[in-house]
Amino acid sequence: MSRIGNAARNIGKLDELARRDTWLNRIHPLPKLLVTVLYLVLVVSFSPRQLTGVLGMAIYPFILFEFGDLSFTSALYRMRIILPVVCLVGVLNPIFDREPALTIFGVTVTGGVLTMLSLMVKGVLTVLATYLLIATTTVESVCGALRMLHIPGILVTEFLLICRYVSVLLSEADRMWQAYSMRAPGQRGVAAGAWGSMIGRLLLRSMDRAKALYQSMCLRGFRENSTLLPVKGLESKDLFYFASFTTTLILLRIFPVLELIGRLFV
């Protein structure tokens, strides 16, 4: 089934990007994570009609995508899951809100159109920002950052193991699906009669694997409070990254940069 293969490929591609050696990849994960969260907060903090303000926030991902040598197309491809939902929520706004908000060259734009557009722009920008984080930061580094934020070890270890075993279980599920579809030609999904045994067997195998995995970890000295990964210290370049981007983003949020540029011309 292409869904399973696609999922595995997506993870693989992101992991490859994250393991490249660009300056953005080399920045410590903690400031990258914090800047990303700050950016998300700032973007969604714009009120529904502030389209100009939200557009101004696009400067950040645009510049970093260029410098991080990342592709917009693959980032936008990820939005096929979430963007329809966002659009669906916003698409009725023009019908419910017909109050004129501004006039461009004689065309009156209603508040509903503005809120719809700003919602869609927010949708795109937030996805881009998260992509920017994960395409330049490996899973281990994300875990390191989470540890520095004092997220309990139990959750961080679990997250690391999920990331490690997703590919293993995806290929197991893929094999089971292939074996199934060979004997059930023309079916696009698993028929009701096999729901229980197919997922059930995968579940049992996973439980057995988990038991063996625990043994394997114990044999190499694992205890519940083990730290799996060393935590890297912050360097001055990381602090500089954090300070400069925090300031820039807050300035972008406070000052209507685009409007100022526009007023020079219009």
């Binding site: 693989g12 992991d15 393991r19 490996t138 899973v139 281990e140 690391l160 193991l161 990331c163 490690r164 075993y165 590919s167 293993v168 694997r209 063996a212 995995l213 043994q215 394997s216 970890m217 114990c218 044999l219 190499r220 000295g221 694992f222 205890r223 083990s226 730290t227 799996l228 990964l229 060393p230």
Partner: protein, 244 residues
């Protein structure tokens, strides 16, 4: 005779009452031994290995590793001396990259980071895969995974290496490089397998187990050539020794 590393006497074990998996086994293994434990499926080979590191508890009889009895409160000491390589490399390798996985044990035993790095480099050198250090596990081939698995236990500098079916699912080339790597070791190593050609290429002593009992114990040249003995216990002559 060299120093005795593992001493087992009267070892029995059962999962269900009345169905012994191992039945009063007594045997000892020495430093630098390279032992192949052979037997058909469900002969008790894997259980035998697991008992040595306390993954199955409690055994009847006694197991002593370098004079220390295998008991609940000695396990951490014993596990520092023994490296166990699982049959399924995906069970053995649970971190995301090769170097993090090889570094797992030294880090857990609290070594400083520079010593950890030295251990990792040395372990990867021993199995000839230093170039794979930064590679994510999911990208490794089956053979690379097996070599990486061995490196993860070598970084603990164990005295004893146990391997469960190491040659399963390896292609001929990877199999050959695994044999090459194993033969370079000086440790006591115990390998379970029903791949008798692999045992022939890597072991200096063979122990045949069937239905939980030791049937034969001797040099490969004797046991692996004894067709009647092997077929009586569900095995066949190694391909390299059979005449066509």
């Amino acid at each position: 005779m060299s120093h005795i590393h593992i001493d087992i006497s009267g070892l029995s074990f059962e999962y269900e009452k009345g169905h012994p998996v191992l039945d009063s086994i007594s045997v000892s293994f020495h430093e630098h031994d390279s032992v192949g434990i052979i037997g058909a499926n469900a002969a008790g080979k894997s259980t035998f290995l697991k008992l040595l590191v306390g993954l199955e508890m409690p055994p009847q009889g006694s197991i002593r590793i370098e004079e220390i009895p295998v008991e609940k409160n000695t396990l951490s000491k014993i596990r520092e001396k023994i490296g166990y390589v699982f049959q399924d490399s995906d069970t053995q390798l649970f971190m995301t990259t090769v170097q993090d996985d090889v570094a797992f044990a030294p880090r857990n035993y609290g070594l400083p980071e520079d010593e950890v790095a030295r251990r990792v480099a040395r372990a990867l050198d021993l199995v000839h895969i230093p170039h794979l250090a930064g590679k994510p596990i999911y990208k490794l081939s089956g053979g690379e995974k097996k070599l990486a698995s061995i490196a993860t236990i070598l970084s603990m500098t164990p005295d004893i290496i146990l391997m469960d079916e190491p040659s399963a699912a390896l292609d001929p080339k990877n199999r050959r490089s695994l044999i090459h790597v194993l033969n370079e070791f000086d440790h006591l190593r115990i390998i379970t397998s029903h791949d008798l050609d692999f045992i022939w290429d890597t072991c200096s002593r063979v122990v045949l187990i069937d239905a939980g009992r030791i049937i034969a114990d001797g040099i490969p040249d004797v046991i692996l050539r004894d067709e009647t003995l092997l077929t009586a216990h569900g095995l066949e002559l190694p391909l390299s020794l059979s005449e066509r």
